[in-house]
Every structure is written in C-alpha cells, then in structure tokens.
C-alpha cells in the first residue's frame, strides 16, 4: 500500500498551509493515498463512532449492521444483555456474515462454509472440522479459540451506542467533554422511539459533509427556506460551543430571539425571498419541548456523527465514506416513547424540513458535489479558507457568523493524520 511506505518514512503525505486550521487543502478531498491513511488513523484511530441506538437492539439476539469507515460492523445484544460490536467478517475467508440492516439471531453462521459464531463472536463450530470418514478436515492443532470474530470496544452512552478500534481512547463521556456530554443527555433525557430512517448518497468526500454540518455561516444563506420563513437566521440568538479543544461542537440558536432583523430585511441575500408565502403551514406547527429555548441545535461528534434538533425533529446523522468521492448519510429519526399523538404528528410532518427532500436540508445533499467538482484539477497548494469569526479555536457564545467549528475539525484531523 502506497501510504504504508510513506508512513514508514514518516513524511507527511501533504504539507499543510502555514495558515494552519484556517486552511484545508483541496487535495485532502481527492487524494486516494490520504483517503487510505484516514481509514487507518481516523477511523481505526483514537476516536469513537456512533453505531446505533440502544433502543434498536433491546432483546437478546437483536442486531444492527453498520460501518466504521469502510469496515462492516455488527452490533448485537447477547443473552446476558451485554452489547457487543464485532467486525462483520467471517474469520475463514472474510465473507460478510450479516447482510440485512437489522434482525434477530441466536448465532452468526457464515453462508459460505458454515463457520458459526456466538453473539460474543467466539467461533463455536467449523463444518467438517474432523473431515469425512477420517479423511480431510482441519489440522488437529487448529484451535477455534484463536479464530473468533474481531471484537471492538463498545460503549452505551445515554442510549447512543459507540464503537472504537482503539484501546487507547478515553471513555465516551471523557472523549465528549462536559458540554457535549450534557447536550447528549439533553436530547436523550428519556426513552426514545425510532420514527424511521433516511439514507442519502452524497456525491462528495465524507469530510465535505463534516464541514457542512459544522458551518452556521452557510445555513441561512444556502437554505433559503430557513431565512424566508424566519425559522433560522444568523441574527437569531445562538452560538457555538466546543468540546475536546474543538474536536466536537454544538451549533445552537433560538428562533424567538432575533437580535438584528434589519440585517436580513435591509440586505440583498438571495435567501430572503419576499413575495413567497406558504399555502398551508401546518407542517410547521411546533412545540417548545426544551426549557432552554433552543430551537435548532446541531452537534458534531468527531469524526462522523451529528445529533440534530430542528424544532421538534430529532435525529442522529451518521456519515459513512463509500469511496474517495462518495459518501452515505444515514439518518435515524426519533421521538420519545411518551409523545402524545399531537406531538408525534408534529414530528412526522416537520420531517418535511429534513432528510433528502427536506425544505431546509436538501441543499446539503448537493452542495458537497459542487465543491468536489469545483476542486478537480486544482493547483497543488490550493486550499479552502476559514477565517470567518477569526483564526482561533475558542468557544463562540453569542456568535453565529463564524467558522470556528470547521477550524476545530481541521485541527483534530491534522492531529490524527500527522499533517
């Protein structure tokens, strides 16, 4: 592998611009050697990855399949009630064991040669291990105990199940830091109920969506629906909180507190369309369900997990790289088990705002593709600029016109990649 050779020499694959985290070289979005190295240093590195909700695998044998980077993962609850995360790959020939997104099993048997594993990943049987009529079979010293499924670290934090390939990474709560952990607790304050899933293929490198979800600057410019219908404007009270020196962040705003209306109404943003009204706005009917008054809160947990509250729509978004220039965004939308009928109806109709056809989110599906195509063939030293709100990585309470959360992402990325 090309990158191993370069790693061996300890030469970084790229010389980062001297401006530091206010720049991101375009090359990191289309260099296959960098992509291979990310799989090793980010996805198998000292990081936690969202796998599923505890609520999705309640019974023994319930499992879901997902990915960490490109690696297929099974998350399963065993007979003792413990959650295990296993690489979804038979120890014999490497075949994927579980194809379905979810189900219930009492063991995992490979379709290829019937090697069978228990729910903790131990190899329990090998077909024809002793051969037939004393002929063939595995060598006598073949030890099934040495050929189980690869288990990874797993932790259930407030109902979010995370996995990690790293033995070194701290526990999830420490990894998140107090403010980010508090926000997870805010959302997962009582038992949740899954309302459904979206899966959206993004025509871009995974990091372009990571930038997008950390960027309050674009939200009310690109997403004209937000500004036109006064759901979210940069002038509304809000800010950016950071966790783990900017690895994670929370972008938040409160719609009822607009501090500078005239900046929109006297300006010339394309995103404020004057003569447009809604014929039936009942899909915007909403309820203030959090005491803090926050109406939009997008949290990024490094590297690829977001939690989302947009009014009463609650979701976890997980970004999975499919290839260098293609990603898949998985949305798990949920409410609470104790939702009344009216609130459940609100969440489902408000879902018109989100997902691949969302009035305020559809553009995020395509804008990464604008960048991916725009940077093709760029000069070796060409880079994106992130100086909005300064050049440092510090929390920005009360500030929304800022790219601080993107600088935080790139600093974390450089730390892990050695760039």
């Amino acid at each position: 592998m090309a990158c191993s050779a370069i790693m061996h020499n300890d030469e970084p694959l790229i010389a980062w611009p001297k401006e530091g985290p206010t720049r991101a070289p375009y090359r990191v979005m289309h260099d296959p050697d960098i992509y291979r190295l990310e799989m090793e240093r980010i996805f198998r590195g000292p990081t936690w990855h969202y796998l599923c909700l505890d609520a999705e695998i309640l019974k023994p044998g319930d499992y879901r399949t997902t990915f960490i980077g490109e690696v297929p993962i099974i998350v399963v609850r065993d007979a003792e009630g413990q959650i295990n995360a296993l690489v979804n790959r038979c120890a014999h020939k490497g075949a994927m064991l579980c194809i379905e997104p979810a189900g219930n099993r009492n063991q995992f048997a490979c379709v290829y040669h019937a090697w069978t594993y228990d729910l903790k990943g131990a190899l329990t049987s090998v077909a024809f291990q002793r051969g037939l009529a004393g002929k063939g079979g595995m060598p006598r010293d073949f030890d099934p105990k040495c050929h189980g499924l690869t288990g990874i670290r797993v932790e259930n934090f407030c109902g979010m199940v995370f996995g990690s390939f790293s033995e070194k990474v701290e526990d999830v709560e420490t990894y998140l830091g107090p403010e980010m952990a508090a926000h997870v607790r805010r959302i997962f304050n009582r038992p949740v109920e899954v309302l459904g899933y979206y899966h959206q293929v993004l025509p871009n490198n995974w990091k372009l969506y990571m930038e997008n979800s950390r960027d309050p600057y674009h939200a009310t410019i690109l997403h004209a629906f937000y500004a036109t219908f006064k759901l979210n404007r940069l002038s509304m009270q809000g800010g950016v909180a950071l966790g783990k020196q900017g690895w994670h962040n929370l972008l938040y705003s409160a719609a009822e507190r607009d501090i500078q209306k005239e900046n929109y109404e006297g300006g010339h943003l394309r995103s404020v369309i004057r003569d447009v009204g809604l014929a039936d706005s009942t899909f915007l009917d909403r309820r203030q369900e959090f005491d803090d008054g926050i109406t939009v809160a997008i949290q990024s947990i490094f590297p690829t997990c977001n939690t989302q509250q947009i009014y009463n729509t609650l979701a976890i978004r997980q970004t999975v790289p499919l290839s260098l220039e293609k990603s898949e965004l998985h949305w798990t939308c949920f409410g609470y088990q104790d939702d009344d009928e009216e609130l459940r109806r609100m969440r489902n109709l408000q879902a018109n705002l989100i997902g691949p056809a969302g009035y305020v989110s559809m553009e995020d599906g395509s804008v990464g593709g604008y960048v991916q195509r725009g940077i093709a063939g760029a000069e070796e030293d060409a880079a994106a600029i992130m100086e909005m709100g300064g050049r440092t990585i510090e929390p920005a309470p009360g500030i929304r016109a800022t790219e601080v959360a993107l600088r935080g992402f790139w600093q974390a990325y450089r730390d892990l990649m050695g760039f």
Partner: protein
Amino acid sequence: MPVVADAIRHQIEALNTRYIRAIDDDALEDWPTLFTDPCLYRIVSRENFARSLPLSIMECASRGMLIDRVVGYRRVNVYEPQRYTHLLSGLVIEPLDATHVRCKQNYAAIRTMITGEMMIFSAGVYLDRVRLSDEAQFEERIVVQESRRVDTLLVIPL
C-alpha cells in the same frame, strides 16, 4: 383480479397520464389539482413502510402543502437542473364503492441531469385511493420507493 368497468379503467389511466405529464413536462403547477383537498401524498421507503415506521421522505396532507412543494421547487430550494421520465406499468384496480377505487401500479423515474447523466432515480409502487368522476382525483397517493437510498436530493415529487 377484480373485474373493473372499462370506463373506470379509462378514468384511472387518464388521471395517471395527467399526473406524469404534469411532472415530466415541468408543468408542476398542475400536479396539486390532481388531488382532493384534504389529501394524502407520501413518499416513503420500503424500509420504513414495511415496518410501519411513520417517517416519510415527503408528506403532504392538503392541497396547500402540495402547492408549497411546487413553490419550494420553483422559488426557494436550490438544486441542479433535472427532469424525470416516468414509466408506469402493472395497474391493478380494486373497487371500494360506487365512487372510490384503490389502485396499485409500478413506477420508475429516470432522472436526467443537465450534464447528461441519467440514472434510475427511483422505482417502486404507487398505492392510491382515487375518487372517481370525469375528472378523477387522488384522495391518497403513497409512493413506496423500493430502495432505501435517495441519490443527492429529492426536490421534484415522484
């Protein structure tokens, strides 16, 4: 298969023809007129539909909400120029009462981008409840997309 009068079959076929002409000819303003008010229009993946999960990719409960989707498409949302070519097949009609039928029909929508890129953007079934008349209308159209994936974004209804 239930026996349905030719006159009813013609009404349903005419309604579906108007439906795909409104969408594929970029005459989307005609699309809401093909529904009653209130109505139900949903696009839902087979993954959610099969498990009775309520989340829709798109859901409109009134003609006004359909009109708002058209306004979103024309005025508010940002997307690359694209068009659909719908293909319909396998129409089944089941009478409910003198003025209502349920219908099921396969659809496929090929999406063509301005670059020339074409793909089967969506395929699945239409599950309809139709109010019969010379100008039959959908009381309900549930679009069950077989794939759980949507490529890039969905702005034009299916």
